[in-house]
């Protein structure tokens, strides 16, 4: 009896294992349609960046549907082939070689984030492929590869141009603020941003009175904010990821930190999750953004895109606003698609040349790349949170809550300065 039971159990394990292997290998990579143009990429669908990665994927699938509805590219349908990179750089080389050598995709585009773009670079360069990339900071700095194009509008000197705008805004106030406190998380983006802002501080004549980083799993930010407050800086620049952005804003209110300007590089203040939780506590913060629903940024197609994105977002459990990453995920495919159409070719070199030399009309406006594949001129926005009275999500769909105060071209309102008078 006992023997029997353990034998059954042994077989149960064996069949479980075989079943698992079978289930995972029998799954076809992607169904093949009639001779489509395949575009491959890895995307963070699990792991730390999955919230954004999933949102980007929705946008990219919308593009795929839109193109195919209009008859595809060069008369052929397009097909996205993608794998989950699990937000792990180590999976990226395998994924891109699989896409290129096994799935035989025609083009590859990048996944989301600096750390996941970087491991794909050598493969792309070896094969001289055109490589539109989605939100990586200075990925091409060391390689200077001519096929690389970054859709994020940081500008030709990414880390410097990005953070510079915040200090430009500060430097234009009277009397000009003098002292600056810097704080950020120990992670890739914040460290890059901090390095950038230090240079800008030197250039614009700010005196750095506090400069420190904290580990990503910090629970309580009040000690940090207190030390900053004790230095009494005029301007505070924070480079943080979503959980710490929330922690910082809450701690700043609790401690009563009131510099003349507060914000800068906080990731997360573009997403509904944090906007609707922090609500009125956001008032007065000046933070970077790439697109907000202000009248100065109503490019053609964006509103329609957002409506369709938002319809799907709820179900997928991703950011219901979709102002941050999704339009850009749509746009970098638009650029690639326009180049394929423009050159009437699938030749990597020709497409890359076209992308580099032409101006592209997308849902995020006109895109023009510079020599190193970054935007020719920076289009990082600084927005100020103004007049938020509730935590209701509907207000963030409308103009007037996130007012563009920089650059001049897209300005939609006046900066309320100093921070304390905008807090109410």
């Amino acid at each position: 009896m006992r023997r029997n039971r353990s034998r059954t159990r042994a077989w149960a394990v064996v069949s479980l294992l075989i079943g698992a292997l079978f289930a995972s290998s029998a799954w076809p990579g992607a169904a093949s349609a009639a001779d489509p143009i395949k575009i491959g990429f890895g995307m963070a669908l699990t792991g730390g960046l999955a919230a954004n990665g999933k949102a980007a994927l929705i946008a990219m699938q919308l593009w795929e549907a839109d193109v195919n509805k209009k008859g595809g590219l060069l008369g052929r349908p397009v097909q996205l082939v993608y794998y989950d990179d699990q937000t792990k750089g180590a999976t990226v080389p395998g994924i891109y070689t699989k896409l290129l050598d096994v799935d035989k995709v025609h083009f590859v585009v990048s996944g989301y984030g600096t750390n996941l773009i970087a491991p794909a670079m050598p493969i792309v360069m070896e094969r001289k492929l055109v490589f539109p990339a989605l939100f990586g900071l200075a990925n091409n700095e060391k390689h200077n590869y001519s096929g690389y194009f970054q859709i994020m509008p940081a500008g030709p000197r990414p880390a410097i141009d990005w953070t510079g705008t915040y200090l430009e805004v500060a430097a234009r106030q009277t009397p000009k603020p003098q002292t600056l406190a810097l704080v950020g998380a120990d992670a890739e983006y914040p460290h890059n941003a901090l390095a950038g802002i230090r240079e800008n501080a030197k250039r614009l004549g700010f005196k750095v009175v506090y400069d420190s980083t904290y580990p990503p799993n910090t629970v309580d930010f009040t000690p940090i904010v207190r030390v900053i407050k004790a230095q009494n800086p005029d301007v505070v620049f924070v480079a943080s990821y979503p959980p710490d952005s929330a922690g910082m804003v809450l701690a700043a209110h609790e401690v009563g930190l009131q510099p003349k300007m507060f914000g800068g590089g906080m990731v997360g203040l573009q997403f509904a999750a944090l906007l609707t939780k922090l609500g009125p506590k956001l008032n007065g913060i000046v933070n970077y953004d790439f697109w907000v629903p202000e009248p100065t940024l109503k490019f053609s197609g964006i509103e329609d895109f957002l409506k369709r994105y938002q319809a799907q977002a709820e179900k997928a459990g991703v950011d219901p606003l979709g102002h941050y990453l999704p339009p850009w995920a749509y746009a970098y495919l638009q650029v690639l698609g326009q180049a394929i159409e423009g050159t009437k070719s699938l030749d990597q070199q020709k497409v890359a040349d076209y992308v580099r030399t032409q101006e592209h009309d997308t849902i995020v406006g006109k895109v023009k790349f510079g020599a190193n594949g970054e935007w020719a001129t920076s289009r990082v926005l600084q927005v100020q949170f103004q007049g938020i009275e509730t935590t209701d999500i509907a207000q963030f769909h409308k103009a007037g809550k996130r007012v563009v105060v920089w650059p001049e071209q897209y300005k939609s309102g006046k900066l309320i300065y100093p921070y304390s008078s905008a807090m109410k």
Partner: protein, 290 residues
């Protein structure tokens, strides 16, 4: 003067944080310290508690603490069930704790991914009126967001302490840690007693999770950042000493807070682990070891 101000505030913040760490670590102190069960998955149950608090808050507007209290029986039952599986599969066979450890590693993954599938990867927060409120005692500012978790954490510690020292089953749990033979003399069944203890350990996660989401936003993979910290506290606290756990939690909280304030927050976490390594090397039985 500024320096003194910062010191006082850092101490206060550290103590508040410590109260919260105690709530998160109590389950480990019980399971690992008293029952010798290396439940490395405890932090993931704390996350589960956070998501329950989030769900009840988003859907019905329940206060997170209320949710935490309401769900302790559910978590307790979950703990008892988990202990049954553990007992049947490992403890009864006398298998070494190594396999139990791997088992809990697997449980960690299963719960984490289930949360991921159910709630997605976005950050979640709760709303409560007192979040964001703060008051001032002299130069020291105290945030409700941190005060409430600390008070609840200390209360939980106190309640557990009273339970363990004043009730029959509490004393039985203490006894089972020493010697299950003595327990039989008391007329209690060790299996049952251990089930109760493990159930309680998991039950504390319901409340601890509610506290966690009150302090800041959460996402499913966050539990991993607490694994080291809670074991540090439990070991430092002397393995199963409830009072010791509270003191150790406060030491870790204050150490992190002081390092953040005076040396740079970057090293805060490393410091608490450094304290742990040192404690392990010099005094493996913890500060308040038996």
């Amino acid at each position: 003067m500024v320096w003194l101000d910062l010191l006082l505030n850092a101490l206060a913040a550290g103590i508040l944080l410590g109260g919260f760490y105690a709530a998160v670590s109590l389950g480990i102190a019980l399971a690992f310290g008293l029952l010798d069960i290396v439940n490395i998955a405890h932090p993931v149950f704390v996350m589960l508690g956070s998501y329950v608090a989030y769900g009840m808050n988003a859907r019905f507007g329940f206060d997170p603490i209320l949710t935490g209290l309401l769900f302790t029986p559910v978590f307790y039952a979950l703990g008892v069930l988990l202990y049954r599986v553990y007992y049947v599969s490992f403890e009864r066979k006398g298998a070494e704790s190594l396999r139990g450890l791997v088992f809990f590693f697997g449980v960690l993954f299963i719960v984490e991914v289930s949360l991921l599938l159910a709630f997605g990867v976005d950050y979640r927060m709760v709303e409560a009126r007192y979040i964001g409120e703060t008051f001032q005692i002299g130069p020291v500012g105290i945030a409700f967001r941190l005060l409430v978790p600390c008070v609840v954490g200390v209360a939980l510690t106190g309640a557990l302490y009273l339970f363990l020292s004043r009730t029959f089953y509490g004393r039985a749990i203490q006894a089972v840690a020493q010697d299950s033979f003595a327990l039989r003399l008391m007329g209690a069944n060790p299996f049952r007693v251990k089930g109760i203890a493990f159930g309680l350990a998991i039950a504390t996660a319901a409340l601890a999770g509610a506290l966690l989401i009150m302090i800041g936003p959460v996402e499913p993979a966050m539990n991993r950042e607490y694994i080291g910290r809670v074991f540090a506290v439990a070991v430092l606290g002397g393995m199963g000493s409830i009072g010791g756990t509270l003191v150790a939690a406060i030491i870790v909280g204050v150490a992190e807070s002081l390092t953040s304030t005076f040396y740079g927050p970057s090293w805060g976490v490393a410091v608490s682990f450094g304290v742990l390594l040192l404690a392990l090397a010099v005094r493996p039985s913890g500060l308040f070891g038996r």
